[in-house]
Amino acid sequence: MATEARKKEILKGLYDGVVEFDEDKVVELSNAVLAEDVDAYEAIMDGLAAGMEHVGDLYANQEYFVPEVLMCSDALYAGLDILRPHLSGKEADVRGQVVIGTVEGDVHDIGKNLVKMMFDVAGFEVHDLGRDVKLEKFVEEQMKTDSEIVALSALMTTSMLAMPKVIEMIKARNPDAMIMVGGAPISQEVADNYGADGYAQNAANAVQEAIQMVSRLREMGKA
Protein backbone atom coordinates (compact mmCIF):
# COMPACT_ATOMS: atom_id res chain seq x y z
CA MET A 1 0.00 0.00 0.00
CA ALA A 2 1.50 3.33 -1.04
CA THR A 3 1.93 6.07 1.52
CA GLU A 4 0.00 9.30 1.02
CA ALA A 5 3.20 10.99 -0.13
CA ARG A 6 3.95 8.22 -2.62
CA LYS A 7 0.35 8.31 -3.89
CA LYS A 8 0.65 12.04 -4.47
CA GLU A 9 3.92 11.48 -6.27
CA ILE A 10 2.34 8.88 -8.57
CA LEU A 11 -0.71 11.04 -9.33
CA LYS A 12 1.49 14.04 -10.04
CA GLY A 13 3.66 11.84 -12.26
CA LEU A 14 0.60 10.67 -14.23
CA TYR A 15 -0.56 14.27 -14.59
CA ASP A 16 2.85 15.39 -15.81
CA GLY A 17 3.22 12.33 -18.03
CA VAL A 18 0.03 13.26 -19.90
CA VAL A 19 0.89 16.96 -20.13
CA GLU A 20 4.45 16.25 -21.28
CA PHE A 21 3.20 13.43 -23.55
CA ASP A 22 5.60 10.99 -21.91
CA GLU A 23 3.89 7.69 -22.72
CA ASP A 24 6.61 5.54 -21.10
CA LYS A 25 6.31 7.45 -17.87
CA VAL A 26 2.53 7.05 -17.85
CA VAL A 27 2.82 3.29 -18.45
CA GLU A 28 5.40 2.92 -15.69
CA LEU A 29 3.34 4.89 -13.18
CA SER A 30 0.07 3.20 -14.15
CA ASN A 31 1.72 -0.13 -13.39
CA ALA A 32 2.95 1.36 -10.12
CA VAL A 33 -0.67 2.29 -9.28
CA LEU A 34 -1.62 -1.37 -9.52
CA ALA A 35 1.52 -2.74 -7.84
CA GLU A 36 1.31 -0.31 -4.93
CA ASP A 37 -2.43 -0.62 -4.47
CA VAL A 38 -3.33 2.98 -5.29
CA ASP A 39 -6.99 3.42 -6.20
CA ALA A 40 -7.28 3.10 -9.99
CA TYR A 41 -10.25 5.48 -10.18
CA GLU A 42 -8.32 8.15 -8.30
CA ALA A 43 -5.33 7.63 -10.58
CA ILE A 44 -7.51 8.12 -13.65
CA MET A 45 -9.44 11.13 -12.40
CA ASP A 46 -6.78 13.01 -10.40
CA GLY A 47 -3.83 11.96 -12.53
CA LEU A 48 -4.65 11.26 -16.17
CA ALA A 49 -7.90 13.18 -16.55
CA ALA A 50 -6.61 16.17 -14.57
CA GLY A 51 -3.56 16.21 -16.83
CA MET A 52 -5.76 16.13 -19.92
CA GLU A 53 -7.84 18.97 -18.54
CA HIS A 54 -4.67 21.07 -18.31
CA VAL A 55 -3.83 20.03 -21.88
CA GLY A 56 -7.23 21.42 -22.87
CA ASP A 57 -6.25 24.75 -21.30
CA LEU A 58 -2.89 24.73 -23.07
CA TYR A 59 -4.71 24.08 -26.35
CA ALA A 60 -7.24 26.83 -25.69
CA ASN A 61 -4.36 29.25 -24.99
CA GLN A 62 -2.57 28.14 -28.17
CA GLU A 63 0.44 26.89 -26.24
CA TYR A 64 -0.35 23.41 -27.54
CA PHE A 65 -1.64 22.61 -31.01
CA VAL A 66 -3.13 19.43 -32.45
CA PRO A 67 0.18 17.48 -32.71
CA GLU A 68 0.87 17.98 -28.99
CA VAL A 69 -2.71 17.16 -28.03
CA LEU A 70 -2.57 13.93 -30.05
CA MET A 71 0.62 12.92 -28.27
CA CYS A 72 -0.99 13.72 -24.90
CA SER A 73 -3.99 11.61 -25.84
CA ASP A 74 -1.69 8.71 -26.70
CA ALA A 75 -0.14 8.98 -23.24
CA LEU A 76 -3.57 9.20 -21.66
CA TYR A 77 -4.85 6.09 -23.45
CA ALA A 78 -1.70 4.19 -22.50
CA GLY A 79 -2.62 4.80 -18.87
CA LEU A 80 -6.36 4.20 -19.32
CA ASP A 81 -5.73 0.83 -20.98
CA ILE A 82 -3.85 -0.34 -17.88
CA LEU A 83 -6.07 1.19 -15.23
CA ARG A 84 -9.61 0.89 -16.56
CA PRO A 85 -9.93 -2.89 -16.14
CA HIS A 86 -9.26 -2.35 -12.42
CA LEU A 87 -12.15 0.00 -11.71
CA SER A 88 -14.70 -1.31 -9.22
CA GLY A 89 -18.25 -1.88 -10.44
CA LYS A 90 -19.64 1.41 -9.18
CA GLU A 91 -16.76 3.45 -10.51
CA ALA A 92 -17.08 1.77 -13.87
CA ASP A 93 -20.71 2.87 -14.15
CA VAL A 94 -21.19 5.01 -17.19
CA ARG A 95 -22.44 8.59 -17.09
CA GLY A 96 -24.22 8.10 -20.36
CA GLN A 97 -23.84 6.72 -23.84
CA VAL A 98 -22.80 8.60 -26.92
CA VAL A 99 -22.74 7.66 -30.59
CA ILE A 100 -20.02 9.59 -32.36
CA GLY A 101 -18.76 9.88 -35.93
CA THR A 102 -17.66 12.13 -38.77
CA VAL A 103 -20.49 12.57 -41.26
CA GLU A 104 -20.69 11.10 -44.74
CA GLY A 105 -18.40 12.79 -47.24
CA ASP A 106 -15.79 13.74 -44.64
CA VAL A 107 -12.80 11.59 -43.76
CA HIS A 108 -11.23 13.94 -41.23
CA ASP A 109 -11.39 12.42 -37.79
CA ILE A 110 -8.81 14.08 -35.57
CA GLY A 111 -11.35 16.37 -33.93
CA LYS A 112 -13.81 13.53 -33.54
CA ASN A 113 -11.14 11.36 -31.94
CA LEU A 114 -10.23 14.07 -29.44
CA VAL A 115 -13.87 14.49 -28.47
CA LYS A 116 -14.17 10.72 -28.16
CA MET A 117 -11.18 10.69 -25.84
CA MET A 118 -12.75 13.32 -23.60
CA PHE A 119 -15.96 11.27 -23.43
CA ASP A 120 -13.90 8.18 -22.56
CA VAL A 121 -12.14 10.00 -19.77
CA ALA A 122 -15.38 11.47 -18.46
CA GLY A 123 -16.88 7.99 -18.09
CA PHE A 124 -19.22 7.85 -21.07
CA GLU A 125 -19.67 4.67 -23.05
CA VAL A 126 -18.68 5.68 -26.56
CA HIS A 127 -19.93 4.03 -29.74
CA ASP A 128 -17.47 5.28 -32.31
CA LEU A 129 -18.70 4.87 -35.89
CA GLY A 130 -15.49 6.28 -37.37
CA ARG A 131 -15.36 8.65 -40.31
CA ASP A 132 -17.32 9.17 -43.53
CA VAL A 133 -20.32 7.56 -41.80
CA LYS A 134 -23.51 6.97 -43.77
CA LEU A 135 -26.30 8.98 -42.21
CA GLU A 136 -28.58 5.97 -41.70
CA LYS A 137 -25.83 4.39 -39.60
CA PHE A 138 -26.12 7.15 -36.98
CA VAL A 139 -29.85 6.50 -36.73
CA GLU A 140 -29.43 2.73 -36.48
CA GLU A 141 -26.69 2.93 -33.87
CA GLN A 142 -28.61 5.38 -31.71
CA MET A 143 -31.66 3.11 -31.77
CA LYS A 144 -29.61 -0.03 -31.18
CA THR A 145 -27.66 1.33 -28.21
CA ASP A 146 -30.36 3.66 -26.89
CA SER A 147 -27.65 6.28 -26.51
CA GLU A 148 -28.70 9.58 -25.01
CA ILE A 149 -26.39 11.57 -27.25
CA VAL A 150 -25.31 11.55 -30.88
CA ALA A 151 -22.20 13.63 -31.61
CA LEU A 152 -21.65 14.64 -35.24
CA SER A 153 -18.38 15.99 -36.57
CA ALA A 154 -17.47 17.71 -39.86
CA LEU A 155 -14.33 19.55 -40.91
CA MET A 156 -15.33 20.78 -44.33
CA THR A 157 -17.82 23.39 -45.39
CA THR A 158 -18.91 20.95 -48.05
CA SER A 159 -19.61 18.10 -45.61
CA MET A 160 -21.29 20.03 -42.78
CA LEU A 161 -24.44 20.07 -44.89
CA ALA A 162 -25.05 16.45 -43.97
CA MET A 163 -25.69 17.50 -40.38
CA PRO A 164 -29.21 18.93 -40.65
CA LYS A 165 -30.25 15.89 -42.65
CA VAL A 166 -29.03 13.40 -40.06
CA ILE A 167 -30.47 15.46 -37.21
CA GLU A 168 -33.85 15.32 -38.90
CA MET A 169 -33.52 11.57 -39.47
CA ILE A 170 -32.59 10.83 -35.86
CA LYS A 171 -35.26 13.09 -34.40
CA ALA A 172 -37.89 11.48 -36.62
CA ARG A 173 -37.11 8.09 -35.09
CA ASN A 174 -36.32 9.23 -31.57
CA PRO A 175 -37.27 12.81 -30.64
CA ASP A 176 -35.60 12.41 -27.23
CA ALA A 177 -32.13 11.76 -28.60
CA MET A 178 -29.86 14.73 -28.00
CA ILE A 179 -27.68 15.80 -30.92
CA MET A 180 -24.40 17.64 -30.59
CA VAL A 181 -22.46 19.06 -33.54
CA GLY A 182 -18.90 20.27 -33.81
CA GLY A 183 -15.99 20.86 -36.16
CA ALA A 184 -14.07 23.75 -37.67
CA PRO A 185 -16.86 25.26 -39.83
CA ILE A 186 -19.54 24.92 -37.14
CA SER A 187 -20.64 27.73 -34.83
CA GLN A 188 -23.38 28.07 -32.24
CA GLU A 189 -25.48 29.86 -34.86
CA VAL A 190 -25.02 27.01 -37.35
CA ALA A 191 -25.83 24.45 -34.64
CA ASP A 192 -29.03 26.32 -33.82
CA ASN A 193 -29.99 26.59 -37.49
CA TYR A 194 -29.44 22.88 -37.95
CA GLY A 195 -31.70 22.04 -35.00
CA ALA A 196 -28.90 20.56 -32.87
CA ASP A 197 -29.34 20.39 -29.11
CA GLY A 198 -25.73 21.24 -28.38
CA TYR A 199 -22.60 22.70 -29.92
CA ALA A 200 -19.10 21.54 -29.08
CA GLN A 201 -16.69 24.39 -29.61
CA ASN A 202 -13.83 22.09 -28.57
CA ALA A 203 -13.26 18.67 -27.04
CA ALA A 204 -13.50 19.75 -23.40
CA ASN A 205 -16.61 21.77 -24.06
CA ALA A 206 -18.20 18.74 -25.77
CA VAL A 207 -18.17 16.78 -22.53
CA GLN A 208 -19.62 19.66 -20.53
CA GLU A 209 -22.41 19.97 -23.07
CA ALA A 210 -23.00 16.23 -22.99
CA ILE A 211 -23.23 16.12 -19.21
CA GLN A 212 -25.79 18.92 -19.30
CA MET A 213 -27.75 17.12 -21.99
CA VAL A 214 -27.87 13.89 -20.01
CA SER A 215 -28.92 15.84 -16.91
CA ARG A 216 -31.73 17.47 -18.87
CA LEU A 217 -32.90 14.09 -20.12
CA ARG A 218 -32.79 12.65 -16.60
CA GLU A 219 -34.77 15.57 -15.22
CA MET A 220 -37.38 14.82 -17.86
CA GLY A 221 -37.27 11.15 -16.89
CA LYS A 222 -36.10 10.14 -20.35
CA ALA A 223 -32.70 8.71 -19.51
Binding site: S187, V190, N193
Partner: protein, 359 residues
Protein backbone atom coordinates in the same frame (compact mmCIF):
# COMPACT_ATOMS: atom_id res chain seq x y z
CA UNK B 1 -26.76 49.00 -45.17
CA UNK B 2 -26.93 50.99 -48.42
CA UNK B 3 -28.49 49.02 -51.22
CA UNK B 4 -29.29 51.85 -53.63
CA UNK B 5 -26.00 52.66 -55.31
CA UNK B 6 -25.52 54.55 -58.55
CA UNK B 7 -25.04 51.89 -61.27
CA UNK B 8 -21.59 51.86 -62.90
CA UNK B 9 -20.49 50.54 -66.26
CA UNK B 10 -17.66 48.11 -66.68
CA UNK B 11 -15.08 49.41 -69.14
CA UNK B 12 -12.92 46.29 -69.32
CA UNK B 13 -13.61 42.71 -70.28
CA UNK B 14 -12.86 40.06 -67.69
CA UNK B 15 -9.63 39.13 -69.51
CA UNK B 16 -8.53 42.77 -69.69
CA UNK B 17 -9.29 43.21 -65.98
CA UNK B 18 -7.30 40.15 -64.95
CA UNK B 19 -4.41 41.09 -67.23
CA UNK B 20 -4.36 44.62 -65.83
CA UNK B 21 -4.19 43.50 -62.23
CA UNK B 22 -1.53 40.90 -63.07
CA UNK B 23 0.61 43.66 -64.67
CA UNK B 24 0.18 45.91 -61.66
CA UNK B 25 -2.17 48.34 -63.43
CA UNK B 26 -5.42 49.42 -61.86
CA UNK B 27 -8.46 47.76 -63.49
CA UNK B 28 -11.87 49.40 -63.93
CA UNK B 29 -13.10 47.64 -60.79
CA UNK B 30 -12.01 45.04 -58.30
CA UNK B 31 -12.10 41.61 -59.96
CA UNK B 32 -14.21 38.95 -58.32
CA UNK B 33 -13.01 35.36 -58.57
CA UNK B 34 -15.13 32.26 -58.15
CA UNK B 35 -14.28 29.58 -55.61
CA UNK B 36 -17.20 27.48 -56.56
CA UNK B 37 -16.15 23.87 -57.34
CA UNK B 38 -19.15 21.60 -57.09
CA UNK B 39 -21.53 24.56 -56.98
CA UNK B 40 -20.97 25.14 -60.70
CA UNK B 41 -21.95 21.57 -61.49
CA UNK B 42 -25.07 21.79 -59.36
CA UNK B 43 -26.39 24.96 -61.06
CA UNK B 44 -25.91 23.64 -64.58
CA UNK B 45 -27.41 20.23 -63.82
CA UNK B 46 -24.24 18.12 -63.83
CA UNK B 47 -23.33 15.69 -61.06
CA UNK B 48 -20.89 17.23 -58.57
CA UNK B 49 -18.27 14.62 -59.38
CA UNK B 50 -18.05 15.92 -62.94
CA UNK B 51 -16.18 18.98 -61.65
CA UNK B 52 -13.43 16.61 -60.54
CA UNK B 53 -13.48 13.69 -62.96
CA UNK B 54 -14.83 15.03 -66.25
CA UNK B 55 -12.54 17.76 -67.61
CA UNK B 56 -14.88 18.86 -70.37
CA UNK B 57 -17.98 19.12 -68.17
CA UNK B 58 -15.89 20.78 -65.47
CA UNK B 59 -14.61 23.39 -67.92
CA UNK B 60 -18.04 24.24 -69.27
CA UNK B 61 -19.84 24.16 -65.93
CA UNK B 62 -17.33 26.68 -64.58
CA UNK B 63 -17.47 28.80 -67.73
CA UNK B 64 -21.26 28.95 -67.72
CA UNK B 65 -21.43 29.62 -63.99
CA UNK B 66 -18.96 32.49 -64.38
CA UNK B 67 -21.04 33.92 -67.22
CA UNK B 68 -24.17 33.68 -65.11
CA UNK B 69 -22.59 35.21 -62.03
CA UNK B 70 -20.48 37.79 -63.82
CA UNK B 71 -17.35 36.56 -62.05
CA UNK B 72 -13.86 37.04 -63.46
CA UNK B 73 -11.00 34.60 -64.03
CA UNK B 74 -10.84 31.30 -65.84
CA UNK B 75 -11.95 27.75 -65.10
CA UNK B 76 -9.47 25.71 -63.06
CA UNK B 77 -9.17 22.04 -62.24
CA UNK B 78 -8.00 21.05 -58.80
CA UNK B 79 -8.89 19.14 -55.69
CA UNK B 80 -7.81 19.53 -52.09
CA UNK B 81 -6.99 15.87 -51.38
CA UNK B 82 -3.99 15.80 -53.73
CA UNK B 83 -0.99 13.64 -52.91
CA UNK B 84 -2.46 10.36 -51.72
CA UNK B 85 -3.84 9.14 -55.04
CA UNK B 86 -0.78 10.19 -57.03
CA UNK B 87 1.53 8.20 -54.75
CA UNK B 88 -0.54 5.02 -55.00
CA UNK B 89 -3.42 5.48 -52.57
CA UNK B 90 -7.09 5.35 -53.46
CA UNK B 91 -9.64 8.08 -53.82
CA UNK B 92 -13.41 8.20 -54.07
CA UNK B 93 -15.03 10.76 -56.29
CA UNK B 94 -18.25 12.35 -54.98
CA UNK B 95 -21.09 9.87 -55.28
CA UNK B 96 -24.03 11.41 -53.50
CA UNK B 97 -25.40 14.82 -52.65
CA UNK B 98 -23.54 14.57 -49.34
CA UNK B 99 -20.31 13.55 -50.92
CA UNK B 100 -19.24 16.92 -52.24
CA UNK B 101 -15.51 16.61 -52.87
CA UNK B 102 -13.09 13.75 -53.55
CA UNK B 103 -11.96 11.93 -50.41
CA UNK B 104 -9.05 9.57 -49.84
CA UNK B 105 -10.12 6.07 -48.95
CA UNK B 106 -6.63 4.57 -48.63
CA UNK B 107 -3.34 6.26 -47.88
CA UNK B 108 -0.28 5.09 -49.81
CA UNK B 109 1.82 4.89 -46.63
CA UNK B 110 1.20 4.68 -42.90
CA UNK B 111 4.67 3.87 -41.53
CA UNK B 112 8.12 5.46 -41.96
CA UNK B 113 9.22 2.25 -43.69
CA UNK B 114 6.41 2.58 -46.21
CA UNK B 115 7.40 6.22 -46.77
CA UNK B 116 10.97 5.09 -47.36
CA UNK B 117 9.72 2.68 -50.01
CA UNK B 118 7.60 5.26 -51.88
CA UNK B 119 8.85 6.00 -55.36
CA UNK B 120 8.43 9.35 -57.04
CA UNK B 121 5.55 8.79 -59.50
CA UNK B 122 5.48 9.40 -63.24
CA UNK B 123 3.44 12.59 -63.68
CA UNK B 124 1.90 11.42 -66.95
CA UNK B 125 0.07 8.52 -65.31
CA UNK B 126 -0.11 9.43 -61.61
CA UNK B 127 -3.53 9.79 -59.97
CA UNK B 128 -5.26 12.96 -61.05
CA UNK B 129 -2.76 14.03 -63.70
CA UNK B 130 -4.19 12.31 -66.79
CA UNK B 131 -7.44 14.20 -66.10
CA UNK B 132 -5.54 17.37 -65.26
CA UNK B 133 -3.65 17.21 -68.55
CA UNK B 134 -6.92 16.75 -70.45
CA UNK B 135 -8.30 19.85 -68.75
CA UNK B 136 -5.12 21.80 -69.52
CA UNK B 137 -5.51 20.91 -73.20
CA UNK B 138 -9.01 22.44 -73.14
CA UNK B 139 -7.55 25.58 -71.55
CA UNK B 140 -4.95 25.61 -74.33
CA UNK B 141 -7.61 25.12 -77.01
CA UNK B 142 -9.53 28.17 -75.80
CA UNK B 143 -6.45 30.36 -75.38
CA UNK B 144 -6.67 30.43 -71.59
CA UNK B 145 -3.43 30.30 -69.58
CA UNK B 146 -2.71 26.71 -68.56
CA UNK B 147 -2.46 26.51 -64.80
CA UNK B 148 0.64 24.60 -63.71
CA UNK B 149 -0.20 22.71 -60.49
CA UNK B 150 1.76 24.06 -57.53
CA UNK B 151 1.44 21.63 -54.68
CA UNK B 152 1.63 22.59 -51.05
CA UNK B 153 3.98 19.87 -49.79
CA UNK B 154 2.62 19.81 -46.25
CA UNK B 155 -0.97 19.29 -47.39
CA UNK B 156 0.12 16.60 -49.87
CA UNK B 157 2.14 14.86 -47.15
CA UNK B 158 -0.88 14.84 -44.83
CA UNK B 159 -2.93 13.35 -47.65
CA UNK B 160 -0.33 10.61 -48.09
CA UNK B 161 -0.10 9.29 -44.54
CA UNK B 162 -3.03 10.91 -42.74
CA UNK B 163 -2.99 14.15 -40.79
CA UNK B 164 -2.82 12.29 -37.49
CA UNK B 165 0.34 10.42 -38.48
CA UNK B 166 2.04 13.49 -39.83
CA UNK B 167 1.20 15.40 -36.63
CA UNK B 168 2.67 12.65 -34.45
CA UNK B 169 5.77 12.25 -36.62
CA UNK B 170 6.51 15.96 -36.35
CA UNK B 171 7.06 15.44 -32.64
CA UNK B 172 8.11 11.81 -32.32
CA UNK B 173 9.86 11.04 -35.61
CA UNK B 174 10.66 14.35 -37.33
CA UNK B 175 13.07 12.60 -39.68
CA UNK B 176 10.15 10.54 -41.09
CA UNK B 177 8.12 13.72 -41.60
CA UNK B 178 10.99 15.42 -43.43
CA UNK B 179 11.65 12.34 -45.57
CA UNK B 180 8.00 12.29 -46.61
CA UNK B 181 8.05 16.01 -47.32
CA UNK B 182 11.24 15.72 -49.37
CA UNK B 183 9.59 13.08 -51.55
CA UNK B 184 6.58 15.33 -52.08
CA UNK B 185 8.87 18.24 -52.98
CA UNK B 186 10.73 16.10 -55.52
CA UNK B 187 7.43 15.14 -57.14
CA UNK B 188 6.02 18.67 -56.96
CA UNK B 189 9.07 19.97 -58.86
CA UNK B 190 8.71 17.17 -61.39
CA UNK B 191 5.06 18.20 -61.92
CA UNK B 192 6.09 21.78 -62.64
CA UNK B 193 8.75 20.68 -65.13
CA UNK B 194 6.34 18.27 -66.82
CA UNK B 195 3.66 20.91 -67.47
CA UNK B 196 6.23 23.47 -68.45
CA UNK B 197 7.56 21.11 -71.12
CA UNK B 198 4.15 19.97 -72.27
CA UNK B 199 2.76 23.47 -72.76
CA UNK B 200 5.94 25.33 -73.65
CA UNK B 201 5.13 28.42 -75.68
CA UNK B 202 1.56 28.65 -74.38
CA UNK B 203 0.66 31.23 -71.69
CA UNK B 204 1.05 29.69 -68.26
CA UNK B 205 0.02 30.56 -64.74
CA UNK B 206 0.43 28.44 -61.63
CA UNK B 207 -1.85 27.62 -58.77
CA UNK B 208 -2.15 25.65 -55.59
CA UNK B 209 -2.83 25.98 -51.93
CA UNK B 210 -2.18 24.70 -48.48
CA UNK B 211 -4.90 23.83 -45.97
CA UNK B 212 -3.23 21.51 -43.50
CA UNK B 213 -0.73 24.11 -42.36
CA UNK B 214 -3.39 26.21 -40.62
CA UNK B 215 -3.09 27.18 -36.96
CA UNK B 216 -6.24 25.17 -36.38
CA UNK B 217 -3.81 22.25 -36.60
CA UNK B 218 -0.18 23.22 -36.18
CA UNK B 219 1.83 25.84 -34.33
CA UNK B 220 3.76 28.65 -36.00
CA UNK B 221 6.98 26.98 -34.81
CA UNK B 222 5.94 23.74 -36.55
CA UNK B 223 5.08 25.78 -39.62
CA UNK B 224 8.56 27.25 -39.63
CA UNK B 225 10.19 23.83 -39.44
CA UNK B 226 7.90 21.61 -41.51
CA UNK B 227 6.05 23.88 -43.95
CA UNK B 228 8.17 26.90 -44.79
CA UNK B 229 11.32 25.23 -46.18
CA UNK B 230 9.45 22.69 -48.31
CA UNK B 231 6.84 25.12 -49.59
CA UNK B 232 9.60 27.60 -50.40
CA UNK B 233 11.49 24.98 -52.36
CA UNK B 234 8.49 24.20 -54.58
CA UNK B 235 7.46 27.82 -55.10
CA UNK B 236 11.08 28.87 -55.59
CA UNK B 237 11.34 26.26 -58.34
CA UNK B 238 8.17 27.65 -59.90
CA UNK B 239 9.13 31.30 -59.79
CA UNK B 240 12.63 30.39 -60.96
CA UNK B 241 11.05 29.16 -64.18
CA UNK B 242 9.46 32.55 -64.72
CA UNK B 243 5.86 31.33 -64.45
CA UNK B 244 3.48 34.06 -63.30
CA UNK B 245 1.17 34.88 -61.80
CA UNK B 246 1.44 32.27 -59.08
CA UNK B 247 -1.81 31.73 -57.22
CA UNK B 248 -1.75 30.27 -53.71
CA UNK B 249 -4.77 29.66 -51.49
CA UNK B 250 -3.58 29.98 -47.90
CA UNK B 251 -6.47 28.11 -46.36
CA UNK B 252 -7.98 28.31 -42.89
CA UNK B 253 -6.85 30.16 -39.78
CA UNK B 254 -3.26 31.15 -40.58
CA UNK B 255 -2.91 34.37 -38.58
CA UNK B 256 0.20 33.30 -36.69
CA UNK B 257 1.83 31.89 -39.84
CA UNK B 258 1.54 35.08 -41.88
CA UNK B 259 5.10 36.31 -41.23
CA UNK B 260 6.40 32.93 -42.47
CA UNK B 261 4.19 32.99 -45.54
CA UNK B 262 5.82 36.32 -46.34
CA UNK B 263 9.13 34.47 -46.72
CA UNK B 264 7.83 32.08 -49.41
CA UNK B 265 9.15 33.03 -52.88
CA UNK B 266 5.86 33.56 -54.73
CA UNK B 267 7.68 35.50 -57.43
CA UNK B 268 6.69 38.89 -58.67
CA UNK B 269 3.06 39.74 -57.88
CA UNK B 270 1.62 36.45 -56.77
CA UNK B 271 -2.12 36.16 -56.10
CA UNK B 272 -2.53 35.10 -52.47
CA UNK B 273 -5.99 34.14 -51.30
CA UNK B 274 -6.89 33.90 -47.63
CA UNK B 275 -9.57 32.19 -45.56
CA UNK B 276 -12.31 34.09 -43.78
CA UNK B 277 -10.58 33.35 -40.47
CA UNK B 278 -7.64 35.59 -41.31
CA UNK B 279 -7.41 39.27 -40.45
CA UNK B 280 -7.51 41.02 -43.83
CA UNK B 281 -6.02 44.27 -42.52
CA UNK B 282 -2.96 42.40 -41.23
CA UNK B 283 -2.73 40.57 -44.55
CA UNK B 284 -2.68 43.92 -46.32
CA UNK B 285 0.10 45.16 -44.05
CA UNK B 286 2.27 42.13 -44.72
CA UNK B 287 1.51 41.32 -48.37
CA UNK B 288 -0.39 44.30 -49.76
CA UNK B 289 2.51 46.10 -51.42
CA UNK B 290 4.15 43.05 -53.04
CA UNK B 291 1.33 40.74 -54.01
CA UNK B 292 -2.29 40.74 -55.13
CA UNK B 293 -4.41 39.85 -52.14
CA UNK B 294 -7.61 37.83 -52.64
CA UNK B 295 -10.31 37.05 -50.13
CA UNK B 296 -11.87 36.59 -47.76
CA UNK B 297 -15.64 36.47 -47.43
CA UNK B 298 -16.53 33.69 -45.02
CA UNK B 299 -17.66 30.55 -46.81
CA UNK B 300 -20.01 29.73 -43.95
CA UNK B 301 -21.85 33.00 -44.49
CA UNK B 302 -22.14 32.34 -48.23
CA UNK B 303 -23.54 28.88 -47.56
CA UNK B 304 -25.71 29.64 -44.55
CA UNK B 305 -26.37 33.38 -44.41
CA UNK B 306 -28.63 35.66 -46.39
CA UNK B 307 -27.46 37.45 -49.52
CA UNK B 308 -27.44 40.66 -47.49
CA UNK B 309 -24.96 39.08 -45.03
CA UNK B 310 -22.70 38.16 -47.93
CA UNK B 311 -23.05 41.58 -49.55
CA UNK B 312 -22.20 43.32 -46.28
CA UNK B 313 -19.15 41.13 -45.61
CA UNK B 314 -17.98 41.71 -49.16
CA UNK B 315 -18.45 45.47 -48.72
CA UNK B 316 -16.30 45.42 -45.57
CA UNK B 317 -13.57 43.41 -47.34
CA UNK B 318 -13.61 45.86 -50.26
CA UNK B 319 -13.38 48.82 -47.92
CA UNK B 320 -10.34 47.32 -46.18
CA UNK B 321 -8.44 46.21 -49.26
CA UNK B 322 -9.59 48.18 -52.28
CA UNK B 323 -6.57 50.48 -52.45
CA UNK B 324 -3.90 47.89 -51.63
CA UNK B 325 -0.82 48.90 -53.63
CA UNK B 326 -0.42 45.41 -55.04
CA UNK B 327 -4.05 45.05 -56.02
CA UNK B 328 -7.04 43.30 -54.56
CA UNK B 329 -9.44 40.61 -55.73
CA UNK B 330 -12.72 39.83 -53.97
CA UNK B 331 -13.12 36.11 -53.34
CA UNK B 332 -14.73 33.64 -50.97
CA UNK B 333 -12.50 32.40 -48.14
CA UNK B 334 -12.70 28.81 -49.34
CA UNK B 335 -14.62 26.43 -51.57
CA UNK B 336 -18.30 27.31 -51.54
CA UNK B 337 -20.75 24.53 -50.60
CA UNK B 338 -22.67 23.35 -53.68
CA UNK B 339 -26.01 23.95 -51.97
CA UNK B 340 -25.33 27.67 -51.38
CA UNK B 341 -28.13 29.96 -52.55
CA UNK B 342 -27.32 31.24 -56.02
CA UNK B 343 -28.01 34.84 -55.12
CA UNK B 344 -25.57 34.65 -52.19
CA UNK B 345 -22.81 34.01 -54.68
CA UNK B 346 -24.05 36.69 -57.03
CA UNK B 347 -23.92 39.04 -54.01
CA UNK B 348 -20.11 39.07 -54.37
CA UNK B 349 -20.45 40.51 -57.86
CA UNK B 350 -23.16 42.88 -56.69
CA UNK B 351 -20.80 44.20 -54.00
CA UNK B 352 -17.96 44.89 -56.45
CA UNK B 353 -20.37 46.58 -58.83
CA UNK B 354 -21.58 48.82 -56.00
CA UNK B 355 -18.34 49.45 -54.12
CA UNK B 356 -15.47 48.11 -56.19
CA UNK B 357 -15.03 50.67 -59.00
CA UNK B 358 -11.91 52.80 -59.07
CA UNK B 359 -12.51 56.45 -59.80
Amino acid sequence: MTLQVQPRRETMTSDERMSAIARGDRPDRIPVLSFTGGFCASIVGYPIRSIYDDPEKSFWAQTWAQELLGHDGWPTFWYASYGGWEFGGEIRMPQSELDQAPVLTRFPARTPEEVEALEIPDVETAGYFPLYTEFARIQQQFGIPVMVPAWGPFTAAANMVGVDKLCRWMIKQPEAAHLLLSKVVAFAKRIIDYFLDLFRGHPLSAGGGCATSSNQLISPRQFEEFVLPHHSEVYGHLSGKGIKPVFCHICGEQNQNLPYWAEVPFGERGILSFGGEVDLERVMDIFGDKHIVAGNVETRVIGEGTWRDVYEQARVCIEKAKYAPGGYVLMAGCDIPPSSPLYNIYALKKAVMDFGFYD
